[in-house]
Amino acid sequence: MNIHEYQAKELFKHYGVPTPRGKVAFSVDEAVKNAEELGGNIWVVKAQIHAGGRGLGGGVKLARSLDEVKTWTSKILGMQLVTHQTGPEGKLVQKVYIEEGADIKKEYYLGIVLDRAKEMPVMMASTEGGMEIEEVAKNHPEKIVKVAIDPIIGFQGFHGRNLAFGLGLSGDEMKYFTKFASALYKVYIDKDVDMIEINPLIKNGKGEFLALDGKVGFDDNALYRHPSIEKMRDLSEEHPTEIEAKASNLSYVKLDGNVGCMVNGAGLAMATMDIIKHEGGQPANFLDVGGGANPQTVAKGFEIILKDQNVKAIFVNIFGGIVRCDRVANGILEATKITQVNVPVIVRLDGTNAIEAAEILRNANIPNIISADNLVDGAKKAVALANK
């Protein structure tokens, strides 16, 4: 789960990670009021959406008067902000963050992610603030300093010093940086964070460090023990069908093709998308209905897939192991009574009692339910029928 910049900064404040002062606003009036309360004579108006590259897309503007705060906020609120991460349709901006102008002496990058090979968090810092870290890693790997932090000992002074010296810092600046990094690691561990990125991290004239931006994603498996984080979820940032699927314990991701897929198991679901592509088609979605594949989940699966108007055929690919295929076949027939399905449904059932299952589907004599002999046959039929 991801949160907005303003929420990340609230979290940072709570942990003593310094940030410039700021307040979120949902209307132009509120934005101006926030700017007044913050005081000073320079503010930044920042669109709050879950995507990077907001500045380049016109979603971050500097205001030198309250009038400018008003002007920029009215332009940004309600716009479809397009960045390299939103896709061409962009994202609707529903809130802005009004932040005091910061004294920027130098920009850095600081992030924490899990290093899967080392099986521990790794903190990364770079002098190339404001750049995409993937780009820096590709073109100037020498400009990235990393320390792996063994969770058994936690963040120690030497971790901070290694990063600070790597960035060319010394004296008080090194101390300020280490304190900042240590507080940030505490956020990462305490809140079961999956990824934190501060880009840019800024150094001001006094040599202090502040998070000018904040991107935080959490481990979904651990949300149950962080109700305060769960409350930060912004459902308007998620695809409505994906939310609905999740509520029914189905794992769904919308894609752009026209062949709907319903599969048991995440790996086989991905492989099903791959074989559709391989046979010349385009998958419309990823959908894992889980091990059970009972009539209710299959019916819900059909309902979710058919919300996508592009879907012209559905490929049901179930490998029945402990769940027998004959039961799945009956479940599919049952499901078509619960959810109206008016596109061809190609069904490939393999595993326990696959032959009986094919028999059940044939005998049902429903014209738009087509039985497939194997994986390739199913994919070919689904692609052909979707493109008809």
Partner: protein
């Protein structure tokens, strides 16, 4: 031979009397797995599925001599269960539980390593040595005995692959579902080495997916250490960037973790990489007839 487990392996079940534990432990017993007891704190001293129930793993190990634990406890308590197993001297923990927090698994894995306990999973179908010992949730009958070793991140794709291999007239020595979470136990490298050393395995199939770089490391390892023929399939060639595809670890971040990158690395290591998941069985026939 085979790897890790066989007909003599003594297994206990943590989370024995829960719904999942009960169902799958019965299935394993039916398959012939030597389940010698289970652990459910508070139910020690009773019998369940004709096996003794213990309060602690220590007691279970002392009384039964079990070396392997199959773990079904709920996600919030799974790290505790894994660490208890490690502390009690279990040699291999097979963690079936899905949805374990990553931070918990990081700690549990570090402790298991310190105690020399191997782990498989979490969020995996388990391990099966065909026609001898099934420790997990896979449909046993698909895995006909043979001489192909199977390593896979995914459950149903493991069954799919085993089924194709059997249909081509081959069979399975041992199949291991390593799970698709960000932190997992035994991985390709260690298992490849075990299959390389196993006199009952002639060829290896590895099924990977997008996310992380375990498959890349495996490619490097195969190049230098594995002489037996290997077939690979990587799921998620059509997955979009930045989206989690079911498994917690299946996400492409930046340019890293793509299927293409993994397929290229494996190909250049001499692995027979198939593009279509329907060609796994055929590829096994090809490598085995060389």
């Amino acid at each position: 031979m085979s790897i890790l487990v066989n007909k003599d392996t003594k297994v206990i079940v943590q989370g024995f009397t829960g719904k999942e534990g009960t169902f799958h432990a019965s299935q394993c017993l039916d398959y012939g797995t030597k389940i010698v007891g289970g652990v459910t704190p508070g139910k020690g001293g009773t019998e369940y599925l004709n096996q003794p129930v213990f309060n602690t793993v220590y007691e279970a190990v002392n009384k039964t001599g079990a070396t392997v634990s199959m773990i079904f406890v709920p996600p919030a308590f799974v790290a505790d269960a894994v660490m208890e197993a490690a502390d009690a001297g279990i040699e291999l923990a097979v963690i079936i539980t899905e949805g374990a927090p990553v931070r918990d698994m990081g700690l549990a894995k570090a402790y298991a390593t310190k105690k020399n306990m191997m782990t498989i999973g979490p969020n995996c179908p388990g391990i099966i040595t065909a026609e001898e010992c099934k420790i997990g949730i896979m449909p046993g009958f698909i895995f006909k005995k043979g001489r192909i070793g199977l390593i896979s991140k995914s459950g149903t794709l493991t069954y799919e692959s085993a089924n194709q291999i059997v249909q081509e007239g081959f069979g399975i020595s041992t199949a291991v579902g390593i799970g698709g979470d960000p932190i997992i136990g035994l991985s390709y490298k260690q298992l490849l080495q075990m299959f390389q050393d196993d006199s009952e395995t002639d060829g290896i199939v590895m099924i990977g997916e997008i996310g992380g770089d375990l498959e890349i490391q495996a490619a490097e390892f195969i190049k230098n250490n594995i002489t037996k023929p290997v077939v690979a399939f990587i799921a998620g060639q059509t997955a979009p960037k930045g989206k989690r595809m079911g498994h917690a670890g299946a996400i492409i971040s930046g340019s890293a973790g793509t299927a293409e990158e993994k397929m290229n690395a494996l190909s250049s290591a001499g692995v027979k990489v198939v593009v279509s998941p329907a060609d796994i069985g055929k590829a096994v026939r090809e490598i085995m007839s060389k």
